[in-house]
Symmetry: C2
Subunit: 431 residues, 2 copies
């Protein structure tokens, strides 16, 4: 019987795994450096949890199933609902602000395409219980901190920032009725993916030509002040509040030293229904890829999941688009090795294998990464094996062993010395 | 709407996550130290893959579902079939022996109970393409290398070793027909979990009283020689081969220095159908827990999955029983922290928050784990925060800042010094 992998999933052979670990470890380090703590939840939850707030696109893409008790379950397509559930469960015991990150494996029943698979990994960071725009800025900073570390410059990527509050207020001022807002977000979010004409026609069908024109003008605004040409802010209204938040955020990002990565772009909408304030996406400047990541403020989600009204802001970055971009930019060219060794033990004849087994076990017991060849082979073949496994040293058990000695060879310099086996094993690092 | 987690799953809050990471990182380090390379596969595969060889218990416990193309899929209950599929796909390109490890998340639709959950993590190590018993011994050594490192001694645990080849040959010599072997393994594997009388009665029902008596005598044998009282080995027959393999394995384990952990126990059967040679389980000596891990040789699995006949041996260890045992033995008492910081930045007044934001971002940009308080608070409150987050140093922005200075406080010694901010940020480790 020959079995194939399922389309849209990946096999991580050691080489791909090393690259995957390099990406995930980078996410983890950036999170910890920025003061976030790791959490995780189950790979499956009650189906219902994803039907509440995740938006139609995600609900359509759920892998759902029943357990033996006929309960409806689903593999997680995102981790934010799990986060909301977990925080709600312990809301009173957790010191605020809660700064958590997670590196979940997620599944969505999509049609596999460039940068979109049915199984992927996502970096999530969230700050819960902090109203201040400083939290939004910190989420954006942490995102940039990682992207900058892996080598992406302001010439490669831009953080495009807007505000759902700004968008909602503008739409209402333009005359869009409340109940039309949510479906409209889904359409507006697709603006960059649709041909301009198709977008314009579809939008006109939904809200009429006059409103469509004003919405398109708003989404194309380059500056906050130019928005005032489309709708006017009045003292104390939500538009003024939203503009103030965006200005504060820009000020914080400047203090944090990442202004050169950031730009205001009211075309940023985010598809999910639950955003309430500042939203952002990171895009490659060439613009031929999907968003590298996205996030924003979602102040009502915990309440929607049965908890208290607690503010929150966060970001999610998948591994697929990121990897494509890093590869395009030549940032994965350096060798990411799947294996390194401290010592490779080489018995030069079959009857010395016993000694190689003993020595290797002894080195491993002392905590050194060590290996040996199962097969007796010539010295040059074995040195080649050692080199392929990136061994720092070879320990050769050969003729010298009759006198109780081994030869320790530095694989980088090629230098070697003969030392008593017992002395070597007593303190390998001395040699 | 209030949503609950699904029974038999776990939420990893930062504290539990830190413990989980400590276990998984230990597995990873032991694998790498022993020369294994990491791989991973998809969380779901075609349902059929698990119906071939995994044994009835696993098939009954599958979480299966259909995708939108009506294909039957299942969440992985073990990773060995994925390993067989992946190795088969690239069998000619992979240098042998293949030494791979994985740390998969697995799901089984079991009734949750002590040490058994519906979602768990499992350490897997496998050596493929090596016939020698040395490979089996190396798998056992790597297992013990980890268990010893986390503090388990020969007084806490025993590696119980037997051979499926030995068992099969003995059963056949006793007179069990070939077609009864597989169902019998499932029953014999349950021996330790069943009351002696129930086991004896059930076995007698299956094979008759005379055979049942001899099987029970065999499973209770303490030494290889005492088996010869039940069935005789003849020159060159499979029983002689099986005994020779067990003796060779014992010799290798002695060379590797772990004989004190190991014992021969023909009561070890392993439930899965695919084992062909040496099998083993690690048990706590008190014996009130399920097996901590198990493994063995499975030489036909790759062929059964449509590949060539390539020998293989491996081990799987779940995280649930391990964690219970480590807790019982007091080996988790040391504090495993979810968060440490290099620097905690303390503005002593609200108007200094801007400076705290700048300084923290600067430290993070240089790679230091840093945090600050969102809220202005008294110095003692903020030092308490820093201490709770295990900060090594506090950087206090206070009155000294008027002259461009900050106070760097060593949290362990309590010592502090006043330094110019610019000098500090230029080289924080100098202070």
């Amino acid at each position: 019987m020959k079995i194939l992998p399922v389309k849209g999933t990946r096999d991580f052979y050691p080489e791909e795994m090393a690259l995957h670990n390099w990406i995930v470890d980078g996410w983890k380090k950036a999170s910890i450096r920025n003061g976030f703590e790791e959490y995780d939840g189950p790979i499956f939850e009650y189906l219902q949890m994803y039907q509440v707030k995740s938006g139609d696109e995600i609900v359509e893409q759920l892998f759902s199933f029943k357990d033996r008790g006929e309960r409806d379950l689903a593999i997680r397509p995102e981790i934010t609902p799990t986060l909301a559930r977990m925080v709600n469960q312990k809301i009173n015991a957790l010191p605020k602000p809660i700064k958590w990150f997670s590196l979940p494996r997620l599944c969505r029943a999509e049609r596999p395409q460039k940068g979109r698979l049915r199984e992927f990994f996502q970096w999530n960071i969230d700050i819960i219980g902090e109203d201040s725009v400083l939290a939004d800025a910190e989420v954006i900073f942490t995102t940039v901190d990682y992207l900058r570390e892996v080598g992406l410059t302001p010439k490669d990527i831009k953080v495009k920032i807007s505000s759902r509050k700004l968008l909602a207020t503008v739409l209402k001022k333009i005359g869009v009725p409340d109940e039309k807002l949510n479906p409209l977000y889904t359409l507006l979010d697709k603006k960059v993916k649709l041909p301009a004409e198709v977008f314009s026609t579809t939008l006109t069908e939904q809200v009429g030509g006059e409103m469509a024109g004003r919405i398109i003008a708003f989404m194309g605004s380059q500056t906050i002040t130019s928005i005032e040409n489309i709708v006017k802010a009045e003292a104390g209204d939500q538009l003024e509040v939203a503009i103030k938040e965006l200005e504060d955020c820009a000020c914080r990002l400047n203090q944090m030293g990442i202004s050169d990565y950031c730009v205001f772009d009211p075309g940023i909408v985010r598809g999910l229904a639950y955003y309430t304030g500042i939203v952002f996406e990171v895009h490659d400047i060439q613009g031929d890829l999907r968003a590298i990541c996205g996030g924003g403020r979602y102040d009502n989600l915990l309440r929607d999941f049965g908890g208290p009204a607690v503010s929150a802001t966060g970001m999610g970055m998948g591994d697929c688009v990121l990897e494509i971009l890093l590869r395009e930019k030549g940032l994965l060219d350096k060798k990411i090795t799947s294996r390194t060794l401290d010592y490779y033990v080489v018995p030069i004849a079959g009857e010395l294998l016993d000694e190689a087994v003993k020595l290797t076990a002894g080195l491993r017991t002392k905590g050194f990464k060590s290996a040996f060849s199962y097969k007796a082979a010539g010295l040059s073949k074995q040195l080649k094996n050692a080199s392929e496994q990136n061994a720092k040293f070879c320990v050769i058990i050969g003729d010298e062993f009759k006198a109780g000695n081994v030869v320790v060879k530095d694989m980088a310099s090629g230098q070697q010395k003969t030392v008593p086996l017992e002395d070597f094993l007593g303190n390998p690092e001395k040699f």
